[in-house]
């Protein structure tokens, strides 16, 4: 019995290591493509990720490998699309920041996310301001401000892009709560990826066409050919692998699921949540919408 328990623990540890590996890899990989390989097209990169993720999940569903609960078009446009919009914004801005500032500085700025989430939650009435929360806000903000003002290679554009990404991410998390969770729409991680990725790609398309698409067409996609299909495919695969590893980890140990939803107050009782026609075991793995893809491109 003891050895069985040990194996279980080791397996969980393996899943954690795997998740840390993929989530770190994607950050360094994106930075490498955007910065080291001089590919200044962050929206293109995110668009490719989202199209690839859409393709993979759609293929998995078509092949009958996964069951994804159906969603009405109205639900998709009113509840999923706004989340996809914020997600697209957050990923594109976050990746664009890599063109201007170092990974280290980006990670520091990202630590301010709880502040953005709290301020956003206050604005939406999802959270009541308390003295303690105010203390956390002051602590985190002052720490990040100290880091930012002492960064030697800080650029205004880089900081603005990354902070924009943080704000968009905070909005996304609040919207997940307001539009999905509190309305009883609870999708598994894979279903989230299936529905959010195309929404994200759709929202990215217009700004991509204006900012990067035109230039890429003019140069006959030379920058894309410079990076090469194999590397881009590998990069997009890491995003999907990261999502799969996140799913496996959450299913294994739900405790790892980020408790970012601003408030449990508006959440409806568990039994009223969307009943999914999947197998009962997947229930444990059911993640909050958006949590899975949250670790994709700009993570």
């Amino acid at each position: 019995m003891a050895s069985a328990a040990l194996l279980e623990t080791l397996y969980t540890a393996y899943l954690i290591v795997q998740w840390v590996f993929f989530s770190s890899t994607i950050i360094l990989f994106n930075k490498y493509i955007l910065s080291s390989l001089h590919f200044p097209y962050p929206a293109t990169l995110v668009l490719l990720h989202m199209l690839f993720a859409s393709f993979c999940t759609a293929a998995a569903r078509a092949l009958g490998r996964v069951e994804i609960p159906p969603l009405e078009l109205r639900q998709w446009t009113h509840q999923v699309l706004p989340v996809g919009f914020c997600f697209a914004l957050s990923l594109a801005l976050g990746n664009a920041a890599y063109l201007h500032i170092s990974v280290a500085f980006v990670q520091m700025l990202k630590a301010s996310t709880p502040v953005a989430v709290l301020l956003c939650s206050f604005a939406f009435g999802l959270e009541t301001p308390t003295l303690q929360l105010g203390l956390f806000i002051v602590l985190i903000s002052s720490g990040i401000a100290t880091s930012a003002f002492n960064e030697l290679n800080a650029t205004t554009v880089g900081v603005a892009l990354q902070m924009g990404a943080v704000v968009a991410e905070a909005f996304r998390l609040c919207l997940v709560n307001l539009l999905l969770t509190s309305k009883g729409l609870k999708l598994s991680s894979l279903a989230t990826l299936y529905y959010v990725s195309p929404a994200c790609a759709l929202c990215l398309l217009p700004p991509w066409a204006c900012l990067e698409g035109q230039h890429l067409v003019h140069t006959h996609f030379a920058p894309l050919r410079h990076i090469g299909a194999p590397l881009l495919l590998l990069n997009a695969s890491v995003v999907v692998l990261l999502n799969l590893s996140t799913m496996a980890l959450i299913k294994r140990a739900p405790a790892l699921e980020p408790a970012l939803e601003p408030t449990p107050a508006t959440r409806e009782p568990e039994r009223q949540t969307h009943k999914r026609p999947c197998d009962p075991s997947s229930r444990r793995g059911a993640a909050r919408p958006g949590t899975a893809v949250a670790r994709s491109a700009a993570d």
């Binding site: 328990a5 840390v20 770190s24 950050i27 405790a255």
Partner: protein, 97 residues
């Protein structure tokens, strides 16, 4: 906490491998911010735990299971960047419980 460790690891990598320059004051600032982030996480944890505590007692076994799960989920509140505090996993794994 492995979410935090991941972030720290990325900073170390960025400095050691990519040659990013991080000043001492930046480390101090980041440490202060992490203290706030950790505090926020435990605050959320306590908030959700309290929320579960006031639920009616006459719940069915299934509901109790869900509540436990919920509690488990929230035991490890995490950062928005996807850096979940994975350290709690041990407590939730079948080996730990």
């Amino acid at each position: 906490m492995s979410g935090v460790f991941k972030d720290i690891g990325l900073i170390v990598w960025s400095v050691a491998v990519s040659g990013a320059v991080v000043t001492e004051l930046q480390y101090v600032g980041y440490a202060v911010a992490l203290a706030g982030v950790t505090g926020y996480s435990s605050y959320k944890r306590a908030q959700v735990a309290a929320k579960l505590a006031i639920k009616p007692i006459d719940t069915t076994a299934e509901e109790r299971g869900e509540q436990e799960e919920k509690l488990g989920i929230c035991t490890a509140s995490a950062l928005a960047d996807g850096g979940s505090e994975v350290s709690r996993s041990a407590a939730r794994s079948p080996g730990g419980t």
